[in-house]
Amino acid sequence: MASIVVVDDEADVGDAIRRVLEHSGFEVRAVNDAEAGLRAIEERPPDIVVTDVIMPRMNGLELVKILRTRFPRVRVIAISGGGSLGIQTYKPDAISTHAYLAAVREVGAQEILTKPFDMDELLAAVRRQLPN
């Protein structure tokens, strides 16, 4: 049974993803920030990491970079809401999430999903990354 780590600072989003994946029979661990995600991965490397890109403190981009060097076999699905960094950090020259997503793909994420995605899209992306 494939194991998946879900990293999203939005608990609602992370939980929903976890519920969908569990429902489809995956073993899922969900955490709320990149550091916790890294710890979970170090503890027991999963097959797939589903991570938000824009998060406080360590962002998804850095997490993916670390994974690429230390856990090259782990597959990464990057997710992000469209739009900009979010209202809290709003500034006129805010880098858009598209730029982030493009960068994440650049450093080695295998899949990009923009929120809101539906169940089918999520499961299709996960299945594409599973070795069988």
Partner: protein, 496 residues
């Protein structure tokens, strides 16, 4: 009247008339006096020599029979008509000519002509006889001389009057000659004051001072006209640059507004998408766990459908905020992209709208994202469609090249895209706001008000500009100018 008196000509004339009025009587009186005196002298002289002649003749009369003989002499003279009285006094004896028309005067002798009002001039002369002297008294008629004097005076009067008349006429003529250049100068000055500043002030006049004056004035006028033209062109330049500055400011403000709203929309979309994700996932999850035909399932399907609609709405808003993103730019020509967009547009246009495409000639290459340009064309065409939906009309698409001064003044080349329609057009008040995000005149739910701000954002991000010409009922024409890509165009700003 007052004007006439105060005018230069009036003054000149008045002076001449005054001089005439004072001079003519004086002249008349003086000349009359001279004439009178001349005649009087002549009269007195001739009278005296005449009486001496009489006295000489009387002296020659022999002594015997003197009385009778002298009477004859006197009568002879008296008959000549000049003498109106002749008498010889010898002691108490008097011999008087019978021809005498006047009585013996009560007085002795006149010294001046016309001394008395009796129109006779009396003169006494002593005549030597052998042993004693007798007195000859003669009286002469003054009337003919008086008449001559009167006639002479009339001639003098006529001459003086003629002089006055001629001098007045001359004065009128002269005043005209003097006043003419002044009057012309005044007329020219009036015209200049009215704004015909190119009116010449130079006057041809035989009066040197007039010539000089008009010369100086003309010189002054040229200087002033030159100065005012310089000032006016300076003012025009300043107005133009002020207009340019305002235009730039307006564009900057517009960009800022779009950027702000765009960023806000982007931020909101981000949050919104985070919220939409669990809604979509949980409702689909729930749907999977229920009997597919139940009422719950159909409710959940509605939630999923609504969430999908919400997602597409957010995507539309994002299209707008995304124009702030740096897209991957490449060099491309307009024609293929426009043709592609046109195919889409044709698909939705109803039959009452005619599509006219000026041959999509090859335009100079531009730099940017062809997908975005696609969006520009579609948005402009959709707006045209909406403007003509009810009444029908014609949509015209045109590509071309343009050239005009860019920043720095150097001429820059542009690729041009024009979309024109014959729809309902716009009021100026609407036109002012069409590029503002969320500005729409369409029904709630029909228009997003984002179409043109997206277009504007894309065009400006490509370094181009967009212009609109429209009037109510006269359709609208949007002209997009995009700078021609140079071979060494740097790639779009880096992403990471």
């Amino acid at each position: 009247m007052e004007r006439v008196i105060n005018s230069l000509r009036g003054r000149l004339l008045a002076v001449v008339l005054l001089i005439n009025a004072a001079l003519a009587p004086l002249l008349y009186l003086g000349l009359s006096r001279i004439v009178e005196e001349g005649y009087a002298d002549l009269f007195v002289n001739s009278v005296r020599s005449y009486s001496r002649m009489v006295a000489d003749q009387l002296e020659a009369v022999p002594s015997q029979d003197f009385a009778a003989r002298s009477q004859d002499v006197l009568d002879d003279f008296a008959v000549s008509g000049l003498v109106v009285f002749a008498q010889i006094e010898d002691g108490t004896k008097r011999v008087r000519s019978a021809v005498s028309q006047l009585p013996a005067p009560g007085r002795g002798e006149d010294f001046h002509f016309h001394e008395h009002s009796d129109q006779a001039y009396y003169i006494s002369h002593s005549v030597k006889r052998d042993d004693h002297e007798v007195v000859l008294r003669l009286g002469f008629d003054e009337t003919p001389t008086l008449e001559q004097i009167a006639a002479a005076k009339r001639r003098v009067l006529a001459a003086v009057l003629a002089f006055a008349l001629v001098s007045t006429v001359l004065a009128i003529a002269l005043s005209r000659v003097i006043a003419r250049p002044v009057v012309r100068l005044r007329e020219a000055a009036k015209r200049i004051a009215r704004g015909e500043v190119s009116t010449e002030l130079l006057q041809h006049s035989s009066i040197a001072e007039m010539r000089e004056l008009s010369h100086h004035l003309e010189h002054m006028r040229r200087e002033l006209v030159g100065t005012s033209e310089r000032l006016q062109s300076e003012i025009r330049e300043r107005e133009a640059s002020e207009g340019k500055r305002l235009e730039l400011e307006r564009r900057l403000q517009h960009r800022e507004r779009i950027a702000t709203i765009g960023t806000l929309a982007g931020g909101m979309a981000h949050e919104f998408n985070n919220i939409m994700t669990p809604i979509l996932l949980y409702s689909q999850l729930a749907l999977n766990g229920t009997a597919q035909n139940g009422a719950l399932a159909s409710d959940l399907k509605r939630i999923v459908a609504a969430a999908h609609r919400a997602r597409s709405l957010v995507n539309r808003i994002l299209t707008f905020s995304r124009e702030m993103d740096s897209q991957e730019a490449r060099v491309f020509t307009l024609a293929p992209t426009v043709a592609e967009a046109l195919a889409l547009v044709r698909a939705i246009m109803p039959a009452n709208i005619e599509i006219v495409v000026d041959p999509l000639e090859d335009t100079p290459p531009v730099s940017g994202d062809p997908g975005q340009l696609h969006q520009v064309v579609v948005n402009l065409c959709l707006n045209a469609y909406h403007a003509m939906r009810v009444a029908g009309g014609r949509l015209t698409l045109r590509l071309g090249a343009a050239e005009h001064a860019g920043k720095g003044g150097a001429r820059e080349r542009y690729a041009m895209l024009q979309v024109a329609d014959t729809g309902h057009g716009m009021e100026p008040a609407v036109m002012q706001h069409i590029f503002d995000p969320f500005f729409t005149t369409r029904e709630v739910g029909e228009g997003t008000g984002l179409g043109l701000s997206v277009v504007h954002g894309i065009v400006t991000s490509m370094g181009g500009s967009i212009q609109v010409e429209s009037a109510p009922g006269r359709g609208a024409r949007f002209t997009v100018l995009l700078p021609v890509a140079t071979a060494l165009e740097p790639a779009a700003t880096d992403v990471a």
